[in-house]
């Protein structure tokens, strides 16, 4: 018996799939499963995070519902996956953030935005909110801004790393040296191309048995949009501290060259993913986690949009409000990162590293028996 019903169901399915194996060419989940004959909680959490929810194995399965064997791998894996985020989250006291996650993140975001607006107004005269076009640092000194965001980013990083290590230990990744350079490189390539979101080559399954590749496209826009925005912020910080070039930066500066396409990606990508989500067959998704996924997309979208708006409005009297909103959103994003859908990227990356190592070693990882998931 496993810790949860979702894990029990995943175990049942893996037993069915292991005696069938028709899907072994579709993605990494099935070959990883075939290395095992029985499944500990850690194994199932690993497999669930290796699944990219492309839907192919559901549309292709001769035993999916209404067949009496009721095989639905993508949905079951989605449930196990979201449970695993909660299970591994650090510190344990914050695990409840994963319940009603959409609401939780919305509240944190609203409070953060309000906090910044209020902070600006109290710190200065309320009129600064509307009267200081163009100059961010009159509202918030750069060192304060960098200190505040540096602190929250470090916290997010710490919490994510701790959660990741919980996952890493539970799936037994150490036993096959999954952190080797080769595994990391393979995982980087797989993540960068979303190799396993291709339904085995034709695209993924959304509303019906006709595959399309648009989820991969929108995911790429979101992911690379995020990375570009991150690069924009980082280069801005380097400009400031290393070269002593304070903002604002010209149109051809690196922060702008990264930030503008990044912001556009973060606006278009999440909208596309959200629309695709609305059209997706209920059978393929974990409907109970709609809020968490939507909150994540909303946070990404809001980060991109408020960033772009700020750039457009920075020379106007609306700059103060725009800045407060943008900073509030980004602050909330960092603060909630370890406790929402954002972590999926890290667990997926870890699972792909383990998969690369298992392939190379041609044996499954040894899951610690004491780890009770």
């Amino acid at each position: 018996m496993h810790a949860t019903d979702h894990l029990n169901e995943a175990d049942r399915l893996m037993t069915v799939c292991n005696s069938c194996r028709y899907c072994e060419g579709l993605c990494a989940v099935f070959p990883a499963m075939e290395l095992r004959r029985s499944f500990a909680d850690g194994d199932l959490n690993y497999l669930a995070n290796l699944c990219h929810a492309c839907g192919a194995c559901y549309v292709d399965c001769q035993f999916s519902p209404p067949h009496e064997f009721q095989v639905n791998v993508p949905q079951t894996m989605a449930k196990v996956r979201t449970d695993s985020y909660r299970h591994y989250a650090w510190p344990k006291a914050f695990q409840p953030m994963f319940e009603r996650n959409g609401l939780a993140i919305a509240i944190v975001a609203a409070l953060s935005v309000a906090g910044f607006i209020l902070g600006f107004a109290l710190w200065h005269d309320p009129s600064v909110l509307t009267g200081t076009s163009g100059e961010f640092y009159r509202l918030m000194p750069h060192n304060v801004m960098a200190g505040l965001f540096g602190a929250v980013a470090l916290y997010a990083l710490l919490a994510i790393v701790m959660g990741f290590l919980n996952f890493w230990r539970d799936i037994g990744a150490g036993s096959v040296s999954a952190a080797s350079g080769l595994s990391i490189w393979q995982a980087v390539k797989d993540v960068a191309s979303l190799r396993y979101l291709d339904g085995g080559g034709v695209g993924c399954y959304n509303a019906d048995e006709k595959p399309t590749d648009n989820r991969r496209l929108y995911h790429h826009l979101t992911f690379y949009g995020f990375l570009l925005c991150f690069a924009a912020t980082s280069t801005g910080t380097i400009y400031h501290y290393v070269f002593d070039w304070p903002a604002p930066y010209g149109w051809t500066s690196l922060p702008k060259l990264f930030g503008i396409p990044g912001g556009i990606g973060l606006v278009v990508g999440p909208v596309g993913l959200f629309l695709a989500k609305l059209k997706r067959q209920d059978d393929l998704v974990d409907k109970a986690k709609f809020g968490m996924e939507t909150a994540f997309l909303a946070m990404m979208f809001a980060t991109g949009l408020t960033g772009l708006v700020l750039m457009v409005l920075r020379e106007t009297s609306a700059m103060g409000i725009a800045l407060a909103v943008h900073l509030g959103v980004v602050f909330a994003l960092f603060l909630t990162m370890p406790y929402g859908k954002f972590v999926h990227g890290f667990y997926r990356f870890g699972a792909l590293m383990l998969y690369a190592a298992e392939r190379k070693a041609d044996r499954p990882a040894t899951v610690p028996t004491t780890a009770k998931a």
Binding site: T15, V16, N18, S19, C20, R21, Y22, C23, E24, G25, L26, P31, E34, R37, A56, C57, V59, D60, C61, Q62, F63, P66, H67, E68, F69, G200, G201, V202, E209, K210
Partner: protein
């Protein structure tokens, strides 16, 4: 479906591989094509849903095949499994056409994968569908739909109007009403009759009550029966079919591949009286896979038990149901409801007869028994390491061989002599032309694809001229 009369150039009855290959081929020739499938949309595609691979001759290794497989070799394999019960000219014609089939079927959107795992070493002879048979069907349906083929689901054909060897129309039951579908030519690709227990009983007697049907419950042979009643010539023996031993706990229909067991070579197989009845180590499992259905069908109550011990548990593919286990043979007998003493005696005698040898299940090893009425000639090891395990097995029917006789154009032949004018058949419904007996993995798909395409093109040519 509003109207109660339809007409088309080519009517394809069935919805599996043979039907879709025919429909696509006919449509590509310019004919209007209507497919009527008895099953609801989810269950479309009959037994094809459960398939995994297809056997085609090829001259060189490809991305998905490890080596050449010549026409001669394919023919030798077919000759061996059928023991000569095959129409040589037709079979050779099919094998020659199978060469082109891999390319053709790929052009219709079907994708193959490299053979990665599993126990059958078919990587050289057989191409494996990426995602299995249902994925393959989805691709064919998508292509057919794009080409403009019409498909009606939940539409079993219940009657045929045939006049002097010429097809006029079919009646299909659609949404509770009978719809008459007139067509210029017919492709019958409605599978065999393995899901029709009453028909199976005609050949097998009451025993058929205990058979499990591995595939679709829709293949009841109704269309075959109508064709034969309308003067089409029958071919094949009603008791010949592809039958394997599958887990007795499998559902009556549609359990598919995951109820198969391939542990026979590792243990002993006993009947309800706890007696062995055949040499479990006669040959490698893939070669013996298809004889155990018949063997079990010949045992009392059509049930048998594969018994092995702890050291063999991990040597074979896992299956759906867990084995029944016990710490002693007596306790196992008790759990299986077998006579306790008899099983203990059978195992004891077997163990005593096992000769020393070095076990290797990848070759014909020298582990065998000596002095038993039924020897186990390879891979014989004492059953002595608890826990002991057992799987109950029953005959699992894959598909039947009695069908319609056809010529090289896949045109049905009349019992009275000569070919029909506009009636073609493909797939299981005419498999008996090629498979009079026995089976080689992947040939079911070859028969369906090759004759499906030929039938579709023939039917379109007839309809458009």
């Amino acid at each position: 479906m509003k109207c109660e009369r339809l007409d088309t150039d080519v009517l394809v009855v069935g919805g599996g591989n043979a039907a879709l290959c025919a429909a696509i081929a006919a449509r590509r020739k310019g004919a209007r094509v209507l497919v009527v499938e008895a099953a609801p949309k989810f269950y479309r595609g009959g037994n094809t849903r459960h398939t995994r691979n297809m056997r085609c001759a090829h001259d060189t290794a490809t991305e998905t095949l490890t080596g050449p497989y010549t026409e001669e070799e394919f023919w030798d394999d077919l000759l061996r499994v059928t023991e000569g019960n095959t129409d040589e000219a037709l079979a050779k014609h099919m094998i020659a056409a199978s060469k082109e089939m891999l390319t053709w079927i790929t052009e219709q959107g079907v994708r193959f994968q490299p053979s990665l795992g599993g126990t059958l070493s078919l990587g050289r002879t057989n191409s494996f569908f990426l995602g299995g048979g249902r994925a393959m069907l989805n691709a064919l349906y998508l292509t057919a739909e794009k080409l403009g083929v019409d498909v009606l689901y939940d539409a079993p054909v219940t009657a045929l109007e045939i006049d002097g060897g010429s097809f006029r129309a079919a009646i299909a039951r659609i949404g509770g009403r009978d719809v008459r579908i007139a067509a210029k030519s017919l492709v019958a690709a409605a599978g065999g009759f393995e899901a029709n227990i009453d028909w199976l009983k005609e050949g097998w007697g009451e025993r058929a009550e205990n058979f499990l049907i591995r595939g679709t419950p829709c293949n009841r042979g109704d269309v075959l029966k109508m064709l034969l009643a309308n003067g089409v010539e029958a071919i094949g023996d009603p008791t010949q079919c592809h039958a394997v031993a599958i887990d007795a706990r499998a559902p009556k229909f549609d359990g598919g591949i995951i109820t198969r067991l391939d542990c026979v070579v590792f243990g002993i197989v006993v009947n309800r009286h706890a007696e062995r009845f055949y040499d479990e180590g006669e040959d490698f499992w893939p070669k013996r896979y298809a004889i155990w259905g018949r063997l079990v069908a010949a045992q009392p109550d059509q049930i048998a038990y594969i018994i092995f011990d702890a050291k063999s548990l991990k040597l074979f593919m896992p299956s759906l149901f867990p084995p029944i286990s016990a710490d002693s043979i007596g306790e196992l007998a008790h759990k299986l409801d077998l006579p306790v003493e008899a099983l203990e005696t059978t195992v004891g005698t077997f163990n005593a007869a096992v000769q020393p040898g070095s076990f290797d299940h990848t070759v014909f090893d020298d582990c065998r028994t000596r002095g038993l009425a039924i020897e186990k000639t390879h891979w014989a090891r004492r059953l002595e390491d608890p826990p002991f395990y057992a799987y109950p097995v029953r005959p699992g029917i894959t598909f039947t061989y009695l069908g319609t006789r056809v010529d090289r154009e896949a045109r049905m032949q009349l019992a009275a002599g000569g070919a029909t004018g506009n009636m073609f058949s493909a797939g299981e419904i005419m498999a008996g032309n090629v498979l009079g007996k026995g089976y080689a993995a992947g040939v079911g798909m070859t028969i369906g694809s090759v004759f499906g395409r030929i039938a579709g093109e023939g039917a379109a040519n007839h309809a458009c001229n």
